[in-house]
Every structure is written in C-alpha cells, then in structure tokens.
Amino acid sequence: MIEFELSPQQRQLKEFLHWFAEQQVRPASLEADKNHDTPLPLLQQAKAMGLSMESVPSGGGPGGVEGGQGERQGNRIGVIAAEELAWGDASFVLNLPGAGLGGPPVRFMGTPEQKERFLSIFNGPELRWGAYALTEPEAGSDVAGIRTTARKEGDHYILNGTKTFITNGAKASWNVVFATVDRNLGRAGHRAFVVEKGTPGFRVGRIMDKMGLRASETAELVFDNCVVPVENLLGGEERYLQREGFKVAMQTFDSSRPTVAAMAVGIARAAYERAREIARQNLMLGRPSPRYAAIVEALATMARKIDAARLLVWKAAWMADARVPNTKEASMSKAYAGQIGMEVCSMAIDVAAGAGLLHDEYLEKWFRDIKVYDIFEGTGQIQRLVVSRRIFDDLGVRI
C-alpha cells in the first residue's frame, strides 16, 4: 500500500543520525573542509557506532539495524541515513570507513573466497576503506572507452594505465579497478580487478584539489606494469565470457545513484533550512523588505523541489528493496537531485544575501559541495541518457 510513514526503526535511525550530524558532524565540517580531511576521532566514533560507507549505500546502519525477518528495507534505510549525514557534511559521508563503492562489485560478482578475503578486512576495529576506480582522464562519462590495459602473463595480469577522480583511492586498502584485455572487444573486453595497496607497479599519482567536498580525498592512480594475481580478477575468468564486466560496472550505479541523490537532498535541505532561518529572523523582526514576497516564493520553491527530489530517491530505493529493476528511476533521482540541489543552494545564497558569502555561515561551502552532485556517479547528461534510453527501450527502439 502507498505509504510515506517511516517505520519506527527508520524514524529512530533518522532522529539519531540527525542528532549526530547536528552535534558532531556539522560543527567539524568547516575545519574538515580547510584541512582536507574529517578529523580522525570523528571517524573513529562513527566506526564505533557501526556507521560505515558500507552501511549507508547498501542499507543496514548503526548497531546492525537491518530489515530483520520482515520486508527488505536496506536501500530505504540507506537513503534516509545518507540524507541526514550529508545534511551534516557530505565529505564526512564519503570519508566513512568501509568498502564504499568498491563494495557492490565485490558483492555482486566476487567469488565466495574473494568476498571473504576483501570484505572481512572491514570487520576489525581499524579504519579501512575500499574504492572504485573506473574513470580515466580520457574516459569519464564514456566508461566503455577505458584504456587501462590488462595483459595476462602466467598467474598474473599486468595493468597499465591511469585512473582519475577516485574517491578514497589513495587511502583505500584496495581499489576495484576496471581495465580492458582488448580494446577492440569493447565492453566485452572489460575486466574488474581488486588491486591491493602496495601492489608492485601501483602508485598514487596525486591528490586533487577541488572546488568543494574538499575534506574528501580524490586521487589519481597510476598503474605502471602493475602485477595483479589472477586470484584478484573479480568473479574469475569464466564470468567474463559475456559482457559481465561492463554490466557490473553499471549495476553498482543502480544502488549508488539513489544514495548519492539522497546526499544531494541532504545538502540542499541544509542550505534551505539555513536560508529559512535567516529569512525568518529578518521577517519576524518586522524589517520591511521589498523582497518579502520574493523570499516567501523562493522558500516555497526550494522546499517543494527538495521534497520532490526526495520522493524520487525514495521510489528508486523502494524499488531496489523490492528487487524491481530501477535503473531508470535511479537515474531520474540522481538527475533531478543534482539539478535542483544546485538551484536550491544558489537560491539560499540569494535569500541570505551577504551571509551567503561567508565561510562560517556554511552556505558557501554547501554551494561548492553540491556542484559535484550533478557530475560524479554519472553527470546529469549521462543520467538523461540512461532515462531516455529506458523510455525508448520500452518502445522497442534502441538509441
């Protein structure tokens, strides 16, 4: 039945995470932005609470909150959590320890041995990360065009190439790296490897400075005759007889895109609430403003777009929980949230006027942070490509 009530468990989680975001995450976020990292004690605290990058996108949550025996709700819990935490600080979410975006491909296609080997390292008390290395300097949106090569030599693959814009790529214990065994084969030539830190021939090129999300690490990774054991080929050789490699690269997005969209909703909500607070103070003090009606309209517009975006996110997450194919809806949520997130953060600065300029008012940070939500995990244009392809697929036309 159509319903929009959070379950008691979801509500409890949301309230708890909101409290944590308000008390701990946001107050640390400006320093984190300046220092290019979330303070270690905060991450340790998150880890102790059971929060991980793993628990956020794929469900679960602090204290192993899961759907239990009842209806599967991991994706819905995940997006609720992502929104609340990103409301505090989006970089913090990306810095949460765990397998991160590297988790889904390992889980979707890893052999039982690989899952055990690569995922169990996150069970201990240490802070560890996994990462997902797909994008290349010459292959961003066009991920099918990756050039990193994998050449088999005996019991090893030799990787050569460069990956870029890799979130947590330098600090990660391992990266899931996509490479091609034969560029002429297109997507069928793709292979996914788990490349562990310290693998010979693997090094971090540089850490990139960014407009926003500055507390999140974005790395360039270099593979220079990097020697990867065959046991690290995800899923084993047989798996790649079809076009599984590329499919796996894409499958990850069905669960990650609504989560990323939820983060955009969280940032936009933060900016909207701050703008609202500033507007309320001015309006309630009775300061006559010729902008009064315009400000009320701006607040209405911001609020409804944020709420509409959240509904797209919830729908995509609900579909994922129900195991209904959600590629189109996942992309819709990401396209819309990325777009309106930027609009809202910009409008918030208008409403706040001068306060929008100041670092310690947060609004300028959120304006910088939100931009990338229309870029990473597939640009707004790629999302529209995905959505329109699905529309025409349903009409039996391949574009």
Binding site: E3, F4, L6, R276, V296, L299, M332, Q383, R384
Partner: protein, 385 residues
C-alpha cells in the same frame, strides 16, 4: 514504511479508470472538443461506473474514496481527456468544497442526489476568474429576514449550464470586513441569469458561462459556510486542487507518451529523432519531472488521508504538479515541431487543457504564498499574510 506499491483496490480502480479513459474518453476527445459537449450516452456510462461519486462520503451514496486513491483515478481520467472530464455529471469541484465545509447532514442533502441519477453542479466562487481566490470577490449577500439576497456577477463559471445547483461565494460584511460566505443556490431561482458561453483556451468540451446574480433570494439554510476569510476560503479548496493537479499529471503523462512514440518513429537527418539528445534529454526531463511531482502529490494525498497538517505540503505538491505538467505538455508540442502545433495530433490540445486546468482551483500566487509561509513557519509565527 515508505512504499509506492498500489493496493489491490487501487489497482482495480486504476485499471477501471484507465480502461474508460482509453476506450471512451480518448477516442471521443476531439469530437467533444469541437461539439463543446459530451454525448449523453458517455455521461451515462461515466455515471453507471460510479466515477462521478467516487469521492463522496458513503452517507451521500459515494464510495468515500481516500485521497491517494482519488489522485490515482483522476490521473487516469485526465490521461483520457480533461475537458470531457469536466463536462461529466456529478458534483465535481462543487462536491469537494461542500465536503470541506458543510456538516454531514448538509452534505447528504446537497450531494445525495448525484448517486441517484445524472445531475450536474457548478462552483461560482472566484471573481473575476474561475478559481477560488477570495480577495476580489464583490458579490454580496445581504440578510433579508431569515433569507439572504445575492447581488453580483460571476464572470467565469465552469459547468454553469445544466447545473442543478451552484456554490456561490459572496461577501457578508455583517461577519467582518473581508468575510465571505458560501451559499448554495438552486438552479431556476429568480434573478439567476446565465450569460453567454465563453470561448476558452482549453477544456472546451466543458462549458464556461458568466452568471449574474440579480437580487437572488435564497433561504437561510442555503448558507453552507459563513464568515470565512479569503485565506480560509483557500484552505477549503485543498481536495479540489489535489484532484486538478492529478488530472494535470494525467494529461502530461499522455503528452510524454505521445511525444516519446513520435520520437521513436520520426526520422530527420537520416536517423530517428530519438537519437538526438536535444530530443531525448528533453523527454527524460519531462518524464523525470512528472515522476517527481507524482511522488510529492501522493505524499500530500497520503498526509491528507492521515489527517496531518498539509498547509505546506498540499499547495507545494499542487505547484510541483502544475509546473511539471506545463513543462511536459509544452515539451511535447515542441518535440513534434510543426506537427505538434496542428490539430492532427492531440498534443496542442493537451498543452491548452493543462494551462486551463491550472486556473480552475487555487491560483499560483496564492498556492506559492501559502506553501512559502507554511514552510517558513511564518504563518504560525504570526507574521501577517
């Protein structure tokens, strides 16, 4: 638990409404538009299916449908044809306003007849437009013994011709300077004069007339709701706005489907135009905005069903739906190019119909104001609206 799953009952209703829209409304839409009317046979079918009284309470012979279900059904019917829908029998928008304001016995008295047989009602609230904004209403109701005497001119009244009763808004200065009251006026009452039929932008299967109230004498029990402020008048229209928004989404969905199919067959420069991203991205945006708006409208409907405060959510959802529907129907005409502009294809009609639909209920500026004030907590904080 968050869920977008339709109940079996809702699926049944949706399928029934869709079937009617697909086999009865859609094929007849152009003819009805040109004729400016819906054939009696179709009106009978609509009535026999009970589509006219779905929302009425059970004591008035209705199905007592909740708002989520109503939003689902009205979207399907709007997908069929919104113009015909507003020419169909039943209490229509009159019903939602009466349900929001009148006591149960009055509802039964005023609305019971619609389940019995074919009958129409009309709303004559707004001035000068057909919507519900109260600020500009000049019609007055002056007490005359136990009765009232109405004087005024309603410039645009939907369904005025053939209605058996009207809901009329009039100023009642005795209740306060800006106070207004809602009265029910029976057709044929002395002094009630139907003016000429208007030609309109859209929804032409339905008729719009002007209505003169020239000293219309009505009994005291014709008062449905007294002493409303313009803001309160806005509030009682909530369900009507919800229904109109759902219909607009339905029309827009039809437009997106039509434009998608067109793009999947039309060729230019040696390929399907679907392959051009100027086209396909536009369609993706149209579909995405509709999906987002539908989610928000369902949430608002659900909140209304739960008895929650929807003073922000409802106008916000209606605005979102109108914005998406206007965008999508305009986009459909645009993507068909010259073909979209001529009447060989339905998209130009849908664009006009959506534009007209958005004028029937709460005005955009009013909805925006209400949503913004409620969202900011300013209305409750005592800032003057």
């Amino acid at each position: 638990m968050i869920s977008f799953a339709l109940s079996d009952d809702d699926k049944g209703l949706r399928d029934m409404a869709h079937d009617f829209a697909d086999t009865r409304l859609r094929p007849a839409a152009r003819d009805c538009e040109r004729a400016g009317a819906v054939p009696a046979a179709l009106q009978n079918e609509y009535h026999d299916l009970g589509l006219d009284v779905l929302a009425l309470p059970e004591n008035a012979g209705g199905a007592g449908l909740g708002n989520v279900s109503l939003a689902i059904v009205q979207e399907e019917l709007g997908w069929g044809d919104a113009g015909m829908l507003h020419a169909m029998p039943g209490p229509g928008l009159f019903g939602y306003l009466v349900m929001a304001t009148a006591a149960a016995e009055t509802q039964e008295r005023l609305l019971g007849r619609y389940a019995q047989g074919l009958a129409h009602a009309a709303v004559a609230v707004g001035e000068p437009g057909p919507g519900y904004s109260g600020e500009l209403v000049e019609t007055t109701a002056v007490p005359d013994g136990d009765s009232y005497r109405l004087h005024g001119h309603k410039r645009i009244v939907l369904g005025a011709e053939g209605a058996d009763q009207y809901l009329v808004a009039a100023r009642t200065p005795q209740d306060g300077e800006s106070a207004m009251s809602l009265f029910v006026v029976a057709a044929g009452t002395d002094g009630l004069k139907l003016g000429a039929r208007h030609r309109t932008l859209g929804l032409e299967a339905a008729a719009f007339h002007s209505l003169d109230l020239d000293g219309v004498l009505i009994p005291g029990d014709a008062l449905v709701a007294g002493g409303l402020t313009p803001a309160q008048l806005e509030l009682v229209q909530g369900r009507a706005d919800l229904v109109l928004a759902a219909e607009a989404l339905g029309v827009a969905r039809a437009a997106v489907e039509y434009a998608s199919s067109y793009a999947a067959t039309r060729k230019a420069f040696g390929q399907l135009i679907a392959a051009f991203q100027g086209v396909s991205f536009y369609l993706a945006d149209m579909a995405t905005q509709l999906e987002a708006a539908r989610g928000l409208l369902w949430q608002a409907a659900w909140s209304l069903d739960q008895g929650q405060d929807v003073s922000y959510l409802l106008p916000a959802a209606v605005l979102q739906a109108y914005e998406a529907a206007l965008f999508a129907t305009n986009g459909a005409v645009q993507l068909l190019g010259g073909h979209g502009y001529v009447q060989d294809h339905p998209v130009e009609k849908w664009m006009r119909d959506v534009r007209a639909l958005t004028l029937l209920g709460g005005h955009r500026d009013r909805l925006t104001w209400a949503a913004g004030m409620a969202a900011a907590g300013l209305a409750s904080a005592g800032v003057k609206s």
